[in-house]
Symmetry: C2
Subunit: 389 residues, 2 copies
Amino acid sequence: MANFAIMGFGTVGSGVAEVLRMNGESIAQKLGEPLNLKYILDVRDLSATPYAKQAVKDFAVLENDPELDVVVESIGGAKVALEFTRRALLAGKHVVTSNKELVATHGRELLAIAKEKNVNYLFEASVGGGIPVLRPLFQCLAGNQIQEIVGILNGTTNYILTRMVKGGVTFAEALKEAQSKGYAEANPAADVEGLDAGRKICILSDLAWGREVRPEAISIQGISHLDLRDVDIASRAGYRVKLLGRALRLEDGRQAAYVAPHLVPADCPIAPVDDVFNAIMIRGNAVGDVMFYGRGAGDLPTASAVMGDVLDALTHRNRRRDLGWSESAPLIDQERELPLYWYLRGDFAQPEGSEKLAEGAYIVGPLSAQAAKELAEQVKAAALMPVLR
Amino acid sequence: MANFAIMGFGTVGSGVAEVLRMNGESIAQKLGEPLNLKYILDVRDLSATPYAKQAVKDFAVLENDPELDVVVESIGGAKVALEFTRRALLAGKHVVTSNKELVATHGRELLAIAKEKNVNYLFEASVGGGIPVLRPLFQCLAGNQIQEIVGILNGTTNYILTRMVKGGVTFAEALKEAQSKGYAEANPAADVEGLDAGRKICILSDLAWGREVRPEAISIQGISHLDLRDVDIASRAGYRVKLLGRALRLEDGRQAAYVAPHLVPADCPIAPVDDVFNAIMIRGNAVGDVMFYGRGAGDLPTASAVMGDVLDALTHRNRRRDLGWSESAPLIDQERELPLYWYLRGDFAQPEGSEKLAEGAYIVGPLSAQAAKELAEQVKAAALMPVLR
């Protein structure tokens, strides 16, 4: 029998318990032994739930149980979660998480501890919810040099954009809908301002190239200032507006990563991905473009990814996966050095060499962000947005 | 240093050598040691190629080299490839292949030998070319009960269908184009009659549910009889015609698998997948629908998947993956027991309860294949095709 614990019994944590309840039999068959949920660590009172027997309030119980193999961290944030993850790894437990904030900001340190203690720290669920993407990236595509990663990494903002495009509602209205459906939190800043997508593109970049990219080091722009007019113009001109995280490795080995709303051509496989779905496209120098698609959030999809990692950790109990990344990736000065195409809208004459999408709406480029902003200022443009090419 | 050999230096085999040439440095970094291509086994004369030094003609050289870790089998077919794979596994070598015919027809036996000898037999490249799909299925989604797999599994037929839809050309003309572009072989039967897709859906089914489904046990229908009229009617009514492999597990545990051209609703993520691209959708009871997309064939994409497996085998040198499946899956009598929706075209009045797509073109159902065929015969229908719902 293999024993695991869940720390934090919110959406993801209770989803993991539910997946075990639903699929315990097939999981035991695949594992070759039963999987037992031994502890649930939460500050809440679980005595009225079916999990009264597993409930504990003291982390030391988990830390000191030599029969506990794996700990699922679904506390969230980077305070208590960081302390308990550190201590669990140091106690020789494998740790599995969906906590993108913690992985993006402390992943390097935690993976180093995991390596030292010869245990696994796995986090497939931290990017793309239930979509298998991190393991395919570092394992199936290991024969490639990864050139670019671009994706819809946040379900909340994709739902809002879908409503703006298909329902013709403003950002504020779409956000209210998302909140009433439980897709957006009362304080939606981390989603709509792009920080959640930023953490995820950093994790993808860390894994793809083995050097740490910190969320605070990259340009992150959300969708809260998006004007319905630009969504309309884009739709009519054969584009969709999507919030994309994007990471690139240039030929000279330097890297770039950023998050911004983009115009995406309708024939790009990412363009039709709507509602709370995510899609991540990875370009390798042998495989070309591959894309991974599915539900990027939600209790059971995220729990599916967590459970996959729990099973992987247990089948590798005495042999850790060689995961990790070193310090500070060589980032370019993105404002100045990354040429992109740009969508510009405003009351000005068509810029020379630009492509006209509609009256007063043009695509210019390639230009650096700095040059594009200068141009936008010069012509008093009302909107400026990169275009995926 | 890790040593591997390539058996069969055709498209895939030479692609694997090329990927090593392109990415040897990053591969060595990931592996922690250099990867050395020690032998290339082929009947052809390679003395004028850059691989003269590696060329051997006698399989026994590979079999008897204790320093050879992994053998890539890219011979194809199920004769010589079967014998050499068997012998390589028995000699304690890990074997990696892209050979769907061999895996679909002898995978069970070969995996049993691999288990006995504690080595890996890996075949990610046998389904979906470079697209990571088998490893995500059996590893990342291990916490799920898989309910259904459906996909565009053959690039040649998808290219032909794309040309029929977008170019308005007949099947025969599109096939000729595909042949001139090197996408279809001189004898295209295995592709256009659906056998290649059939082998792949069997491998996916074997892995998803652990019971063998043999290609000769399932209904396989290709696209050679497809009429341009039906492609047109479908397009106008918001559908795309796609050759799909489909495998299901019913609630009672019994299974079904088949290959047939389908009408696919335009808003299904599979519908816009065109040209030689493949896409495989997997439904799990926790994750919902996830989709994997990319180039389903070609030298470098396929070699990417092969190389991923080679690296996986080498990092698991003393610990095999627990892969395998047992005998004969409990298949339903699909002709009678699987209710589907059907597209019917002909010169007859609209059947009761049907949906009209165009004059003389309707969707009826749910009906078993047998009942649909009886109805088609009764009304003298000119076309009958399942509809994906």
